[in-house]
């Protein structure tokens, strides 16, 4: 006993800093890679990359992707998967465009602001419904999440064509009031840059970006600080253990899918605000981009590890790499797909190398090492 207490006290009184956890390390790697990539792009490609507006363009174009990538991060941490998110995004954007055009039901006498707010409620409602059904099937009836959400994806995509066979678009001539609300942009003069005539054009950011950033922050807090968030990690780490530790595993899995589909609903509305159109091909393969972003941001598909800050940078990395590909003169769309694939491959390789190396006795700086206690 005495010998033990001595070594124990040493271990505790030494108070050395805990080694960085795998999740944090992977996130740091993705942030580092994003910054390096962007700086290299600024130096070598110049052009748009030197202007702050470039960053805001990336955010504007990918706000919905940030949200569904957060959704995927939650379900993946929970050891599950959700491939219905992009389908829900497309369905929600179609339904809300229809509603705003007054085709769902005539909306006379309603102010434009109320109509947009109602559309947002409908979007969230559709997300909730998907979440309730999918969550119940997965958590309480114990059906494979992949299959349930695959069905959900087909269902959502099919519903779009039932709702409206032809693509819809909000236009200035028909819905001027709604368009000004939906396409409102926040202008930041101090981040502006001069155009060819020397006039300073302010940097513009869409409202959807604020929603996306809010989602990232809120989910980050939920995952880190709340009981619900920690239960997500526990269930993803080892479901059987979580059960014996007294966690309500079924409810936790249900909640993960509920939140995921809810976020997909919000993402659909954000997508509509950016695109102002409803189309069966909207956000095609968005779920794959979301999964890729999560993984690049350090979420493990096997569950239990990940965080949304990393996911945010995952989305940024994917978007930036696509821009870089185009800016370097490879304009054909397949180059973007190929580089995305290569990127994903590289990250997964990097992750597994880093993770396996940490377990071994290698010459690593102490903060990188996982020492046995």
């Amino acid at each position: 006993m005495t010998a033990n207490s001595v070594s124990t006290n040493e271990a505790i009184t030494a108070r050395r800093r805990e080694p960085v956890s795998n999740a944090t390390l992977l996130t740091c790697i993705s942030i580092g890679i994003f910054l390096t990539m962007y700086i290299v792009a600024i130096i070598t490609l110049k052009g748009g990359f030197t202007k702050p507006q470039q960053v805001f363009d990336i955010l504007n174009n990918n706000a919905h992707l940030i949200i569904i990538a957060c959704a995927l991060t939650i379900v993946m941490i929970n050891g599950s998967i959700d491939i219905s998110v992009a389908g829900v995004v497309a369905l929600v954007s179609m339904v809300s465009v229809m509603f705003l055009k007054g085709r769902l039901w005539p909306a006379e006498g309603m102010s434009d602001g109320v109509r947009v707010a109602l559309a947002a409620c409908i979007a969230v409602g559709i997300g909730l419904m998907f979440g309730l059904v999918q969550g119940t099937l997965i958590a309480y009836l114990d059906i494979q999440p992949f299959i349930v959400t695959l069905a959900g994806m087909f269902f959502a995509r099919g519903m779009i064509t039932i709702v409206s066979a032809e693509p819809l678009q909000l236009t200035v001539s028909n819905e001027p009031g709604i368009l000004t609300i939906v396409q409102h942009r926040i202008e930041m003069m101090f981040l502006g840059s001069p155009n060819k005539k020397g006039v300073i054009i302010p940097a513009r950011m869409e409202v959807g970006v604020i929603a996306a950033l809010l989602v990232v922050v809120i989910i980050a807090v939920i995952l880190r600080k709340t009981r619900l968030g920690r239960h997500f990690y526990a269930v993803g780490g080892n479901r059987q253990s979580a059960l014996t530790l007294g966690i309500n595993v079924k409810r936790t899995r249900f909640q993960a899918h509920l939140i995921s589909s809810l976020l997909a609903g919000i993402a659909g509305f954000v997508f509509m605000m950016h695109n102002v159109s409803g189309n069966a091909t909207n956000a095609t393969a968005g779920e794959m981009d979301a999964i890729a972003s999560s993984i690049i941001g350090g979420t493990l598909l096997s569950g239990g590890v990940g965080n949304v800050i990393g996911t945010f940078f995952g989305v940024m990395i994917l978007a930036t790499i696509k821009l870089i590909v185009v800016a370097s003169g490879l304009r054909e769309p397949w180059w973007q797909t190929i580089t995305t694939g290569a990127m994903l491959c590289f990250f997964i390789l990097l992750q597994s190398v880093v993770l396996s190396r940490r377990g071994h006795k290698m010459k690593l700086p102490p903060w990188l090492k996982l020492t046995k206690g």
């Binding site: 124990t8 920690r230 239960h231 979580a242 007294g246 239990g304 020492t371």
Partner: protein, 501 residues
């Protein structure tokens, strides 16, 4: 010794066709470490599962501190202060040590990391557990993870702590660490039920021993009053004095032929280094209690587990055997212990199961003709008297003994020079048992070397000319010729026998 903490009276539990527990009593006092011992099928784990609410009991009553209690679920058990730490870690490796101690215990909606870390730090220091609260659990050794699980139980005010095989994957130093924690808890008045296979560990920490056999209570003993030899005898159900040493007229196949297989310091991920050799035409066996490492050793020979070191010679030629395929190529066959899991493929026909190993040996690019396969299958179905409707019958529908013969046929077809049979007679009827024993002796006469493992000592004594005795993962003795008696085997297992020459 403190007052009585837990009593179980007249516990019965039946499963379809088996009486797993028959009128078993168990008493645990506060501040004692009580070892629960028994061989495979003795009912230890059933008793533990009844106590923790995993299985409902048929009859009997359980009371804690004199109050009768009803246990219907693991949660009920926990509420009554009964905590279990299982052999496999039931914590989450991706969370921190502190989280693992407090998660799932009516936490608040928002996690207070500061308070949690502080409380777990106090608890870890108090119990002398060498872990840091913010450390990821997965980066701790298995022993420390187990101790964290114990700390969690202690913090939940457990009175009865059940440790189910806690030491089976720990090294000596870690075992010592765990023991000092157990003694510490004991001094705090916790009653500990210690389930293990390791005899020496029982004597190192326990105060009392309860022995079960075949679902019945053999007795409760104070450790000092029960020598190891007697404990082994009680577990095996043999009276030491009454042992008649019959069966002296075994086959004299022990005549030392030329050495066929030799291993030097062979070790695997599961087995500690050991030396072993077998001569041509010899039948030898590994014996020992369950968990003594006998199966692990033969699995190392066949490379069924990852081989980690050692030299292997076959007919004097040095060989590398790192995969079962290489072992098969070298002429070694292996009948696994658990034929349902490792052996038969229940949905394939008798013929396909028989052909399997030979096909692997030939490689998949050299298919055999249908006629050839039927020929082989027919030959062995007749030779081994396998009772099957036809060779197309799925193996799963055959009786246990006939399934075993199918696997035997599979290996005989590859004409191995050395065959390892791990528990070939378990769960099959007496008639088939003797048939298989006779077959083993016949094959040996024809020049095959055979290593035979069985839980039944009589069977081993009848078939083997040399017995290697194992205890606590080590070879502790070797018996041959005149020494092959039941009492000698037991003495060696218990630690009083002849040392390895």
């Amino acid at each position: 010794m403190g007052e009585i903490l837990l009593t179980m009276r007249g516990i019965c539990k039946s499963f379809p066709g088996v009486k797993a527990l028959n009128n078993v009593d168990f008493t645990l006092r506060a501040g004692e470490i009580h070892a629960l011992m028994g061989e495979n099928g003795a009912g230890k784990s059933t008793l533990i599962k009844v106590l923790t609410g995993v299985y409902p009991k048929d009859t009997g009553e359980i009371s804690v501190e004199g109050q009768p209690i009803a246990i219907h679920s693991p949660q009920d058990a926990q509420k009554n202060g009964i905590a279990t730490v299982y052999q496999e870690i039931t914590l989450c490796p991706n969370l921190t040590v502190a989280e693992n101690m407090f998660i799932g215990r009516n936490e608040n909606l928002v996690v207070d990391w500061g308070k949690m870390v502080k409380r777990s730090d106090e608890l870890l220091k108090n119990l002398g557990i060498p872990a840091r609260p913010k450390q990821q659990l997965g980066s701790c050794s298995i022993a420390v993870q187990q101790m964290v699980a114990i700390a969690r139980a202690v913090d939940m005010n457990c009175k009865v702590l059940i440790l189910d095989e806690p030491t089976s994957s720990l090294d000596d130093k870690e075992v010592e660490m765990l023991f000092s924690l157990m003694r510490d808890l004991k001094s705090r008045g916790v009653g500990i039920i210690f389930v293990t296979h390791f005899l020496e560990q029982v004597y190192a920490v326990s105060d009392r021993i309860t022995v079960l056999r075949n679902g019945e209570l053999v007795g409760e003993y104070v450790v000092e009053e029960l020598p190891q030899v007697e404990l082994v005898a009680k577990m095996m159900g043999k009276e030491l004095e009454g042992l008649s040493d019959l069966d002296k007229n075994r086959g004299k196949s022990s005549a030392a032929g030329e050495s066929l297989y030799e291993a030097e310091n062979l070790s695997s991920s599961e087995a500690k280094p050991f030396d072993f050799q077998i001569a041509k035409g010899e039948v030898n066996g590994f014996t020992g209690l369950l968990g003594s490492g006998r199966s692990e050793s033969v699995r190392a020979i066949f490379a069924a587990d990852k081989v980690t070191g050692g030299k292997v010679r076959m007919k004097g030629k040095q060989l590398n055997i790192n995969t079962p395929y290489q072992a098969m190529k070298a002429g070694i066959g292996y009948l696994p212990e658990d034929r349902k899991r490792d052996g038969i493929i229940a949905d394939l026909s008798v013929r396909e199961n028989i052909i399997l190993a030979l096909q692997v040996m030939k490689g998949f690019f050299h298919p055999m003709s249908k006629a050839q396969m039927s020929g082989f299958a027919d030959e062995y179905i007749r030779a081994l008297e396998i009772k099957t409707a036809s060779q197309d019958t799925p193996v799963g529908s055959l009786s246990g003994g006939n399934q075993q013969k199918v696997i035997l046929a599979r290996w005989l077809l590859t004409h191995p020079e050395y065959l390892i049979l791990d528990e070939p007679t378990r769960g099959i009827d007496v008639g088939t048992k003797t048939e298989i024993q006779r077959l083993v002796l016949k094959l040996a006469e024809e020049g095959m070397s055979i290593t035979f493992i069985s839980s039944e000592i009589e069977e081993m004594l009848r078939t083997c000319s040399r017995l290697i005795v194992m205890r606590d993962r080590k070879i502790v003795g070797e018996l041959k010729g005149e020494e092959l008696t039941q009492s000698n085997v037991m003495r060696t297992i218990a630690g009083g026998g002849k040392e390895n020459a």
